[in-house]
């Protein structure tokens, strides 16, 4: 049960369990607990390609390995970009990395956002908090091929104005005439003068045709749940709603079963799911 997997590069990997050495080219602090790493292959050569929505397993030597979405531009695959929030052992160690430090990279894994299926339609991207990172490649793709899409809408919600990810870039997107960007925060801090309230409240008034729209949602599961409700209330069909899921992972190749979610393995059947296909068990406890 997968979304529109355009291709599955995992199958072409020489040995998907073997990390490749990458060097940290650049570290950028995004917010208090979130940072972006730009990585380059240690041997200087790369034929790395990824589709918007896929993730890598990043190995911090001596500490451990975690799945992190690729958040860069799929049109510029040489620059491998990951945005991570430090929440525990591995991601906190990752936060200490500096330029020229080494990281092991396995991937890319998983399927992609339905950027091909969305051609000729309105694209509605709803992101919450760090959820902007995994969905940013889809937005890059859409903007790189802007003529292939109708209205493009980005609705982005964060906790406070200080938690807005890629702030400068969000401002640039907002200045464009061919994208509708609306940002809202749960808690305003001076001098914020924008929207206050949850991201779902932006949906009823957004400029898209519910009958001709593809929605891509990424964020915490609670936020996804309420976003889906609001999109359905607006008339968007479950077939046209796509969500990105997170589960703990180990192999990332569909063997160990760590990431099982209902009948799916998130690492190979996801992380992007068509809502109509997971609706029966989405939000169920214990899954």
């Amino acid at each position: 049960m997968t979304a529109t997997v355009a291709h599955s590069p995992t199958r072409n990997l020489p040995n998907p369990m073997l990390p490749n050495p990458y060097r940290v080219q650049r570290v950028r602090k995004e917010t208090q607990d979130t940072f972006t790493l730009e990585l380059e292959p240690a041997n200087g050569q790369s034929d790395f390609h990824f589709a918007a929505g896929q993730f890598n397993m990043l190995y911090i030597f001596g500490v451990g390995e975690v799945p992190i979405s690729i958040s860069g531009d799929p049109g510029k695959p040489r620059k491998l970009v990951h945005t991570t929030r430090a929440v525990g052992v591995v991601t906190s160690a990752m936060q200490q990395l500096k330029r020229d430090d080494m990281v092991g990279v396995r991937g890319p894994f998983g399927n992609d956002w339905p950027v091909v299926e969305a051609q000729g339609k309105d694209v509605v991207i709803v992101a919450g908090g760090l959820g902007l990172a995994p969905v940013r490649p889809a937005l890059y793709h859409v903007l790189n091929h802007r003529e292939k899409y109708d209205n493009v809408v980005l609705l982005y919600g964060t906790r406070t104005p200080n938690d807005i990810l890629y702030r400068r870039e969000v401002e640039k997107w907002r200045a464009r005439l061919d994208v509708d960007v609306h940002v809202t925060v749960d808690r305003a801090i001076h001098p914020w003068r924008g929207n206050v309230g949850v991201v779902t409240r932006l949906i009823p008034k957004s400029p898209f045709d519910h009958l001709n729209a593809v929605a891509m949602i990424c964020g915490p599961e609670v936020m996804i749940r309420f976003t889906v409700l609001e999109l359905e209330r607006r008339g968007v069909l479950p077939d046209n709603i796509f969500i990105s899921m997170e589960r703990n992972m180990k192999c990332a190749t569909g063997f160990c079963g760590h990431c099982q979610w209902g009948p799916n393995f998130v690492c190979k059947d996801g992380p992007v799911f068509r809502y109509s296909e997971i609706k029966p068990f989405f939000g169920q406890r214990g899954l």
Binding site: D186, G197, V198, M223
Partner: protein
């Protein structure tokens, strides 16, 4: 076109009045007037009598709670098309929050006290107003719950 007619046509197209028969919308339009508020102007204040409700035609309004040490804390912003205020419909008919225009704001202002009195006689009108107001209360409550649980800050335990 008179003001009542133009207000009526706006109300007819507004989602809050969907499914409400035109004759009832006409009755409501008779209780409505146009208002405008300067940037920063208070539309209502916590503790004041709640005798109106507003449909924002254009602008942006912050619903705020005042905390002595922190000043005005914005809880939610409302903009074009949003309905502002439901305290006019429920006892004790007192505003529980402050509402402040963040930019120049135009509203259709409905005389809640007058509508309340009319609803006491006209139960059909009362039913529709109550039904649509409760829908808004539920949506705002859901939104407020999401804000309270701090979804973006959650860490799995």
């Amino acid at each position: 076109m008179t003001t009542v007619e133009s207000i009526e046509s706006v109300l007819e197209r507004h989602p809050f009045f969907k499914d409400i028969e035109p004759r009832l919308v006409h009755q409501m339009a008779e209780h409505a007037s146009l208002s405008s508020f300067e940037t920063g102007q208070m539309i209502f204040r916590q503790g004041e009598a709640a005798n109106q409700f507003y449909i924002i035609s254009k602008g942006q309004v912050a619903l705020e709670v005042f905390a002595p040490q922190q000043g005005a804390i914005p809880l939610m912003t409302l903009s074009d098309g949003d309905v502002l205020g439901w305290s006019w419909l429920f006892e004790p008919y007192i505003w529980h929050l402050d509402a402040r225009a963040m930019v120049e704001t135009q509203t259709i202002t409905l005389d809640g006290a007058g509508l309340r009195a009319e609803c006491d006689h006209n139960h059909e009108l009362g039913y529709h107003l109550m039904k649509h107001s409760v829908e808004i209360v539920v949506q705002r409550l859901q939104a407020a719950l999401m804000q309270v649980i701090d979804v973006y800050g959650l860490k799995k335990q």
